[in-house]
Symmetry: C2
DNA sequence: ATGTGTGCAAAGTGTTTGCATATCA
DNA sequence: TGATATGCAAACACTTTGCACACAT
């Protein structure tokens, strides 16, 4: 287990225990691949990644595992403008937003307390009680606008 | 023609002429329904809306019309967290963001120059050249948190 | 022994496409 | 007349589900 994802495994083990999940080699492998990838993956990409490890896992199992992680609150599905549906790791309490390159598809993360502040203000003006937000900036990354 | 959408029809007519589109009653009807609805619609909702006018239009034609409008830059497809794919009118030069009620699905619009400003700052720090952004705030609307 | 997980294939969704026919210019 | 549009059904891509079998506890 990589130290970096200690928080993940602790949270997942807890969830697994509470929900009577069993340990299977497939799920372990899928999650390992997902974590290793630094994780902004489509289900299909994860499927192929797992296949490179030589073990045959059904695509359905990939989806089931991702849905389990989503239910555990450790993974989030993100619908991007370019029609990619990417899954990403969610570290509880560490919110971040994304900036996506329209040319190469690269995804970077950031977070801004100022933006958050003004979101609350705007929402308050409209009488909304804010639960969460999703901000995506689309642009051209440094590598692509040379 | 409703005065409010003069800008729309001018833009669309220009696009239509340039691209040799023909005037058909179906397309006219679909667009009328779309404009009348104040427009945050799924393809399917628009389909049903058109049907209430008594004329039978194929669902495929709805999609083709929406795609045409998208190509003309007058309509935008928005993938929401709740898996709705809503189409909305885009008035060139008038950018706005959305706040969506997680309970009733209501969508309100807003725009904030402050948020825009900080987005540019954040993107600049990462070396990105910003093209556009998409901000969605999810929360509970006034009517739902009584 | 029981319940959970798996692979596969089939079913589901939402959207697009092929084709014959109809319509506009 | 010739290009564009339409309706329908079939094709599509992505995701979920049913089932029989396997495995973890």
């Amino acid at each position: 287990m990589i130290e970096e994802y200690k928080w993940f495994w602790e949270a997942f083990d807890q969830y697994a225990q509470k929900n009577h999940l069993k340990n299977t080699s497939q799920r372990k492998l899928i999650i390992d691949c997902f974590l290793d990838s630094k994780a902004h993956l489509e289900a299909d990409e994860l499927y192929n990644l797992v296949k490179t490890r030589g073990i045959n896992v059904g695509l359905a199992t990939i989806y089931r595992t991702l849905n389990t992680l989503k239910a555990a609150g450790l993974v989030q599905l993100r619908l991007l403008d370019d029609n990619r549906n990417v899954y990403e790791l969610v570290e509880p309490g560490f919110h971040h937003d994304h900036i996506i390159c329209t040319q190469c598809g690269r995804i970077d993360e950031f977070s801004s307390s100022e933006i958050k502040k003004y979101q609350l203000k705007v929402a308050g003006n409209l009488g909304y009680f804010v639960k969460y937000h999703k901000l995506e900036i689309y642009g051209v990354c440094p590598a692509c606008h040379k």
